[in-house]
């Protein structure tokens, strides 16, 4: 570097110019606070700063998101370079931004960092440059550059640089505020969309049926939307078709796959009354389009309230528990992998079924969000905790019993790490 640069110091200045400077600073502050259009406000501010410092031209550069490019967002006077982009290390302005210090170059011809490409394009001859970084703490936002002082000896001095630095800091704060406001608006928009998605998801769950209907379910999403679901509907012959599923992962992608799987179940389940074949068909459909290794564990069945007969198929889901009339718990382990991984994993693409009499007992199907959920004391619920809670609350109605289970799992801020879903099928004969 051969050019003359000066570190700003507290230069003596006339009271008149300090008053003018403070007035400009206050005006700019008011303008920034009142404006909804940050670009127009920055352009106005640059015009006034250029005039205040008696420069022939000025330019305001902002760093892009990658920090690799400086873009001229506004220009004034003889510099018509709005829209111009530079590598963030190019020229005096690049040096100013990279070093985060003000630059005063009185003769650009003597500064090897001076980038003559802009002059070549605009036809303007730059003689001297005053440049101050726009930054807030360590966050670099850009820089304001003023060229060619008109009056006096035509040279910028340390007092000019001080003035420019205070003005550029004010502009930097305004840009940062505007960006934060924009991010907040975007966040609000995403939140509203998530809430709408959650509303649609809740509508996919069946409405609770009054007793003595044999099936009740509860779903508490850990986030706004859920990857868990359950459904049940009564067939014309009085049997009830039901399922409970859990999509791998969380968030919107899990929620969308949940919506697809739940819809497939409801649609196909109305005509196909074999749980094993139903799961085979849903698996084939999901496998055609699923991405990113996502899969769905699902237990699905058909229950006949008139006879207590149960048919159940389990695709990789946490073993449902059959709580028998005499108080024992039988775990019904999956005999086949989850849906969405591959076809051909089970013979003839028919998932194995288990058939048994509920015989006055209850079948509970739940997601690992229940068994891995945290209790008040910080321990996890586990299958044993679930069994104990179910046994202790045997006298309650099915719906109250399920509420008692989810009531055990802590659901405060951040405590619920997975969606909580549980379904009970009771033989109420």
């Amino acid at each position: 570097m051969t050019g003359e640069t000066t570190t700003p110091s507290l230069a003596a200045d006339g009271g008149e110019s300090i008053a003018a400077h403070l007035e400009l600073l206050a005006d700019m502050g008011r303008d920034f606070a009142a404006s909804l259009d940050i670009d127009a406000t920055l352009a106005r501010a640059l015009e006034r700063i250029t005039a205040h410092l008696d420069g022939e031209g000025g330019a305001l550069f902002l760093l892009d998101e990658t920090g690799e490019t400086l873009r001229c967002e506004a220009s004034s006077g003889i510099s018509e370079i709005t829209g111009l982009t530079l590598n963030s290390g190019t020229g005096i302005v690049g040096r100013c931004v990279q070093g985060n210090v003000g630059e005063m170059v009185r003769d650009v011809a003597k500064d090897s960092d001076f980038f003559s490409g802009v002059d070549a394009e605009t036809g303007v001859t730059t003689r001297s440059i005053l440049c101050a970084p726009m930054s807030v703490k360590d966050e670099r936002i850009g820089a304001i550059e003023i060229i060619n002082k008109r009056g006096g000896d035509g040279l910028f001095d340390a007092a000019d640089l001080n003035v420019l630095q205070s003005l550029s800091t004010s502009a930097a704060l305004a840009v940062l505020n505007a960006r934060m406001a924009a991010a907040l608006v975007e966040q609000e928009r995403i939140k509203r969309e998530l809430e709408l998605a959650a509303e649609i998801q809740r509508s996919l769950l069946p409405p609770a049926q009054p007793a003595p209907f044999p099936i009740q379910g509860i779903n508490h999403p850990a986030r706004t939307v859920s990857g868990d679901f359950y459904d049940f509907f009564t067939l014309a012959d009085g049997r009830v078709c039901f399922n409970l599923g859990d999509v791998s992962g969380k968030g919107m992608n899990a929620a969308l796959l949940m919506a697809k799987t739940a819809s497939l179940f409801r649609c196909l389940g109305k005509t196909l009354h074999d749980p094993g074949r139903l799961l085979g068909l849903i698996n084939a459909e999901i496998c055609e389009t699923v991405t990113r290794g996502m899969f769905v564990t699902m237990a699905a069945g058909i229950f006949d309230p008139a006879t207590g007969r149960m048919r159940l198929a389990n695709a990789g889901h946490e073993p449902p528990l059959h709580h028998t009339r005499d108080g024992a718990f039988k775990a019904l382990e999956a005999e086949a992998p989850p849906l969405g991984i591959s076809t051909g994993l089970v013979a003839d693409d028919v998932y194995p079924e288990t058939e048994f009499d509920l015989d006055g007992g209850t079948l509970y199907i739940f997601t690992d969000g229940v068994t891995e959920g945290y209790l008040e004391d910080g321990s996890t619920f586990e299958v044993e905790g679930l069994k104990a809670t179910l046994a202790q609350n045997g006298a309650l109605t099915l719906s109250d019993r399920l509420e008692a289970v989810v009531g055990r799992v802590k659901r405060g801020e951040d405590a619920l790490r997975d969606d909580l879903t549980i379904l009970g099928v009771e033989d109420v004969r």
């Binding site: 791998s248 290794g293 899969f295 564990t297 990789g316 889901h317 999956a334 591959s342």
Partner: protein, 110 residues
Amino acid sequence: MEHNIREEASAVVVAFEGDVDLESSRRAREVLLECVGRKRAVLVDLSQVTYIDSSGVAALVESFQSARKGGTTFALVAVSDATLKVLQLARLDKVFTIFASVDDGLAEAG
């Protein structure tokens, strides 16, 4: 979660350590897909994995699907008890090829 990749004569061995959960599974996915992209047999050493959730399993599933499409071997080796329990409960032991040790996997891949 930590990981380590080493090239052996018959396979790429990628070893994970710690929890493969919602926070780390994105990284695990990138690592696994990069290994599968090498067009060689891939052995995933899960001996030091203390916890795996469904997003971690999905990363394994996607890599398995990708290897199958590319016609290369993809197997899990020396699976820790905690991980094996998760895989067995979901009957994913029917999906993945699993070897008891890295050496068994290397012998088979060779």
